[in-house]
Amino acid sequence: MWNQVGQALSQSMNRMLSQMASLLPGVVALIAALLVSAMVAWILTAILRRSLTSVDFDRRVARWGFSALAEWSPAKSPTLLATRAVAWTVMLIGFLIGISAFDVALTSQFVIRLFAYLPNVLAAVVVLAAGSIVARFLARSVLIGAVNMNLQYARLLSAGVKWLVTVLAVAMALEHLSIGGGIIRLAFGILFGGIVLALALAVGLGSKELVTRSLEREASKTSSQTMQEPVGHL
């Protein structure tokens, strides 16, 4: 009996060792792919860092109104963010190529599904970027317009518009990524509706001020004895 137990253990040990041996080429291929991708990533980031530094990318990003990007970036440098993003992307691609050296059927399906999802990711990134730009532009337009109309709640209006557009862009991006589904739609509807309601209340309550001033102006025209001096600009 002990011989049989020993033989069974020896056979399972042999199978395990042969399985591990069969994995060895894949592991070597994976390590080689990672090393090559690391080298490629290093070369690409060096080139990219020189190019972005030469065009003063950090200052241009701040001037274009993306100062928040600098806040999020490591060492507050969008150049560093961009180079690191490129490096990790190259490493990821190398990793995917490396794991395809294992079970070809399983990993190739995984890689195919990942690459099929990539356009959705890109579309979501584009939607978010466009939404951010539009939100910033509209918020600034509303802020300047409200200040020029002497509205005390100009900042609130501007923030409301910015969040409105941002929430819309995020919801559209999540829709592209097929994340959340019904829950996201419901949350978006509640949030969007809430922001619109808040803005409507702010405008409605705040316009009392405008109406009051307008009525005062009309009243002062008819009842006041003092004449206003004419003002001309050109």
Binding site: S141, L143, I144, E229
Partner: protein, 417 residues
């Protein structure tokens, strides 16, 4: 729309008859006043010599066929051909006015006129003397540009006083009260030059006749003078649309600066231009000026637009504005140096497109209101001589601050706020 004002057969008839000596554009005539405008031109022509044929273009917005005034049968009085400037539908009033200017200039250039006069002020205050004074220096004294000089009250011409006139003086070296007209007298040579520069480095829609005529004359070395025209009636200020007015006027001014940068950077000092006509005394002023609302607008801008102004103005200027906003209204005074630096920094921001140009121009509104408030408080009891002296000090401040502008213009990165 350029040549649509005069039908081709009519144009050919005038050309065959030897062209025209003058083109007069009356840009503020409503349909009923077009006849009165033409009569005013005829009256003015009686004092001008060697004028045989005149084309009058009235911008009364009439659509459809043009109406030509009958040619006079007298051999002595000039022949007057009057036409309507039909504007394209759905144009804004500003775009319509710009189109009208271009139409008048184009007709004048095509007919190879000796002189062109444009009257864009409200006809209510215009007299035949205006047309005479805008044309006579061109016809008899060989001037190329006759700029207007109006009799103004204390609170009239504020944008001219605060920005247009002193900026033009500092940049182009000519001391004009109203470099942006709107009423002008031009020679045929200047007309051709102005139309030729429309296809230059600046895109056509960035050049507007109102703001480009005087710089074109200065850059081209044309002879420039001023004529006293008297008081000008102006529409009441629409305070709700002040930012649109500022954007409409300052945008082309800053664009013109960009186009003429190579010239104005070499100008070191300014000089006065010859003046014609006698200045009229301004009627006695009445009424008060409520500056509190303007100070409040300035404070609101300072509280809410720091992020926007911070992209255009250096930290030192922002600090001064913050200090100014904390002063009580009675002590509210914006120094000339501060205002000059603000204007120059906005001009630079416009050139560098630091932010959207429309946003940039509209965000200057609270600062402009602050200047008006400061000026109104300072000049509350001042008479015309004190006001003129005050404006002279402001103009000198613009000239003194020009090295700052030139430095920032040439090396914007070095002075990046």
């Amino acid at each position: 729309m350029d040549m649509g004002a005069v039908p081709q057969p009519e144009l050919e008839r005038i050309e065959q008859a030897g062209g025209a000596d003058l083109v007069v554009g009356i840009l503020d005539a409503d349909h009923g006043a077009a006849g009165a405008a033409v009569a005013m031109v005829r009256t003015a022509l009686t004092e001008l010599s060697k004028v045989a044929r005149v084309v009058v273009l009235c911008n009364n917005g009439a659509q459809g066929p043009l109406a030509a005034a009958p040619e006079t049968e007298s051999g002595r009085a000039p022949a007057v051909f009057a036409y309507d400037l039909a504007s394209a539908p759905a144009q804004t009033p500003q775009a319509g006015m710009v189109g009208a200017y271009r139409s008048v200039f184009t007709v004048g250039e095509k007919l190879r006129v000796r002189a062109c006069a444009v009257i864009a002020s409200h006809l209510q205050g215009v007299t035949p003397q205006w047309i005479y004074r805008l044309l006579q220096p061109v016809l008899d004294l060989d001037f190329d540009l006759v700029a207007p000089r109006y009799t103004r009250h204390r609170m009239e011409g504020l944008l001219n006083r605060s920005v247009l006139a002193p900026l033009h003086r500092a940049l182009y070296g000519l001391q004009l009260q109203n470099p942006a007209g709107p009423d002008f007298g031009l020679s045929g040579k200047l007309l051709q030059r102005a139309l030729g520069m429309d296809s230059g480095s600046l895109r056509r829609h960035e050049r507007e006749p109102l703001t480009s005529i005087a710089p074109t004359a200065a850059v081209g070395g044309f002879r420039v003078c001023e004529s006293h025209l008297g008081a000008r009636s102006q529409p009441p200020t629409d305070w709700m649309n002040l930012s649109s007015l500022l954007a409409m006027i300052l945008g082309p001014v800053f664009s013109e600066m960009e186009g003429q940068a190579a010239y104005w950077q070499r100008i070191r000092e300014s000089h006065a231009v010859p003046g014609f006509g006698l200045p009229e005394a301004a009627a006695e002023e009445g009424g008060t000026m409520d500056v509190h609302r303007m100070v409040e607008s300035f404070r609101l801008g300072d509280q809410n637009l720091q992020d926007v102004w911070g992209l255009i103005l250096p930290p030192m200027t922002l600090m001064e504005l913050r200090r100014l906003s904390r002063l009580p209204p009675e002590q509210f005074r914006m120094t000339d140096d501060l205002w000059v630096r603000i204007v120059y920094d906005f001009a630079l921001g416009h050139r560098l497109r630091t932010i959207s140009r429309d946003h940039l121009l509209r965000s200057i509104t609270p600062l402009y209101l602050g200047w008006i408030a400061s000026y109104a408080l300072e000049m509350e009891t001042a008479g015309p001589p004190q006001i003129e002296a005050r404006m002279e000090r402001l103009a000198r401040a613009y000239e003194a601050g020009k090295p700052y502008l030139v430095s920032r213009w040439r090396w914007p990165d070095r002075f990046n706020p």
